[in-house]
Amino acid sequence: MEAFTIHTGRAVPLRRSDVDTDQIIPSEWLKRIERTGFGAGLFSEWRAGEGFVLNNPAYDGASILVAGPDFGTGSSREHAVWALQDYGFRAVISPRFADIFRGNALGNGLLPVELPAETVETLQAAAEQDPTVEITVDLVAREVRGAGLVASFELDDFTRWRLLEGLDDVGLTLRNEELITVFEATRAAWLPSVA
């Protein structure tokens, strides 16, 4: 996993709530067995229409998505995170994330930043007014700076440390393999198995 420390970039204002993962990456793209190349499918239905914010060349190269509440609802498809990253996003800011999307993002080093709705609105307005405005997402200080504001966000110490170090969960868990084996010896005999 790519580590996340401090990232500064331009922002894309996405003024929609309930952006579900079917919109982020439509199911047609889920047939692929690779982990890369999903950027071309990012928001592909919306990009095919007129007036969608990502079609505005002023936002080319922007790396922070600033969206409405309940971002990433619906399907558990991690492809949504892969698509956002492959397109070039390093962080998504929203008043609230769906749990599975948030977990998937944190597992891949795409930082989901929860900020109050008014702060998100301010950032969206700033990016709309001036697409060149730069925003800094600082995981070290757990704050977002830019557009004339400094807003702190919450993330637990453990997850923050894991992101700062770029550590993947499997390796961390396997350090405790003995505990897993001990636990397995205590499982009830009547639990189902397909062996």
């Binding site: 047939k31 509440p69 619906g74 399907s75 995170v81 599975i100 868990t173 897993i180 636990f183």
Partner: protein
């Protein structure tokens, strides 16, 4: 202080707890399908890691499989390659697979319960958000992403932050003609698509106790549509009766031991929830969605809402956008909305009792001219059971198409899709833009409403026929 059902199941699975870190939870059952697993198996291969517990891992092919002509090779080469990848991965890593045309094949959330693999008090995960279905048994069951699929394959555990708890209590009895689907649509409409975020919902109350296991699965299935991490229902005699005698249920003294444990799982009387919602069952009627998220639902007897009714500007914009996408006019009675497609199936409503409910409505009636009606059983076993009862004949005689098992038009990864502008009444779980095909418009309904809608060609409750 007492503990809730969710807390009891959680506590019984903690492998490791450390201050400031997520708990490491043991996973009792890992369900796998072709869409969210290939990259996970590839990661294991690259790291040289085995599947730790193939005996606790079960795979099936469901999302991509065609529901007609299933003996022929899959026509879409990308779908075919994904299914082939699952077969190779399961063979290489020793995972039990139910492939297309196998009598055990079906939608992953129909297969687990029908095999008796989904049991009370277990932790169950799958790379699929509708894993919440298995919470109907009093299991803690939740959807995960592909990196987590890899994690469970490699370690049979998952690091998870402790969720909050929420009680949704449905008091009284459901009125005649109101089903589990109507109940969950009404709950989501009430608490919103983010209403359960961060919480495990426990469904309680007389109306929930009165549901069959299949009805309970329908309710828990759509917990994710309320944003919840999981949905659960305390196990009781309905649960035990359903499980007794199934392929993977214990027998003899082991069964008695299991049941004795399961009876201890109900939430304690003095347990406290972080949030509580109470719903009066008597106030419910058949519900349908009118918008583009599952919270945008209303009684079938009501009208499409006016954006001006919403005070919050974001909600108003969302409603306006949804009505534009759906091609609907505010104020129109929902019962006047005409559809051209009816889909009966999915992990929400593709079980035998769902097909019976639809067949009861269609018996002796005809699908309206110009309406395409698809009936897709949730598994090959459901298909066989339905055919043994003659339900297939009822559907065919009514002019509906009787298909083979799979996810089908719920998400249109196989050839069963809506064309741009087409409108469906669908017993599935998501009415997102383009969910059933680019430009398609979806109204979520119960199986009974779907069948009645097929007859009239517009959103209709059976009582109106």
């Amino acid at each position: 202080m007492g503990r809730t059902l969710a807390e009891k199941v959680w506590d019984a699975h903690v492998v490791r707890r450390a201050d400031g870190e997520p708990d490491l939870l043991y996973i009792d059952l890992h369900l796998v399908h072709e869409v969210t697993s290939p990259q996970a198996f590839e990661a294991l291969r690259l790291a040289g890691r085995p599947v730790r517990r193939p005996d606790l891992t079960v795979a099936t092919e469901d999302h991509n499989v065609p529901t007609t002509n299933t003996l022929a090779p899959i026509a879409d080469p990308i779908s075919a390659a994904q299914v082939e990848a699952l077969r190779k991965n399961c063979a290489e890593f020793g995972v039990r697979l139910y492939p297309m045309n196998d009598p055990g094949q079906g939608i992953v959330h129909v297969v687990g319960p029908q095999l008796g693999l989904s049991q009370p008090g277990m932790t169950i995960v799958c790379g699929d958000s509708h894993t919440s279905t298995h919470g109907a048994f009093g299991a803690l069951a939740f959807g995960i992403g592909t990196s987590q699929v890899e994690h469970v394959l490699a370690t049979q555990t998952l690091p998870q932050g402790r969720p909050k708890t929420m009680a949704v209590t449905v008091e009284g009895d459901l009125p005649a003609g109101v089903t589990a689907k109507d109940l969950i649509l009404a709950i989501i409409a009430r608490i919103g698509t983010g209403g359960g975020a961060g919480h495990v919902i426990e469904y309680r109350g007389a109306a929930v106790r009165g549901l069959s296991m299949e009805g309970r699965m329908t309710v828990c299935n759509m917990s994710i549509e309320a944003g919840a991490r999981a949905g659960m229902i305390a196990p009781d005699d309905t649960t035990f009766d359903y499980l007794a005698g199934r392929a993977h249920a214990a027998t003899g003294p082991a069964w008695d031991e299991a049941v004795a444990y399961w009876r201890t799982l109900a939430s304690d009387d003095d347990a406290e929830y972080d949030r509580e919602v109470v719903i009066d069952a008597a106030s419910l009627s058949p519900y349908v969605t009118w918008g583009t998220n599952p919270g945008q639902a209303a009684p079938l007897g009501s009208r499409i809402p006016e954006p001006a009714d919403y005070a919050d500007p974001a909600a108003r914009a969302s409603v306006e956008r949804a009505l534009t996408y759906m091609g609907l006019t505010a104020g129109t009675p929902l019962s006047e909305v005409a559809v051209d497609t009816v889909f009966i199936g999915s992990c929400t409503n593709g079980r035998l009792s769902d097909l019976r409910a639809a067949a009861d409505v269609l018996r002796g009636r005809q699908v309206a001219a110009g309406v395409r009606a698809l009936v897709v059983p949730g598994s090959m076993q459901v298909k066989a059971e339905a055919e043994a009862e003659g339900l297939d004949e009822i559907f065919r005689a009514a002019g509906a198409q009787w298909r083979s098992a799979g996810c089908s038009m719920c998400l249109g990864m196989n050839p069963d899709t809506l064309s741009p502008g087409e409108r469906s009444a669908s017993t599935s779980n998501r009415n997102f833009e383009g969910r059933q095909g680019p430009g398609g418009r979806t109204h979520l309904v119960s199986p009974a409403v779907a069948a009645a809608t097929a007859v009239t060609g517009r959103l209709t409750a059976p009582a109106q026929l």
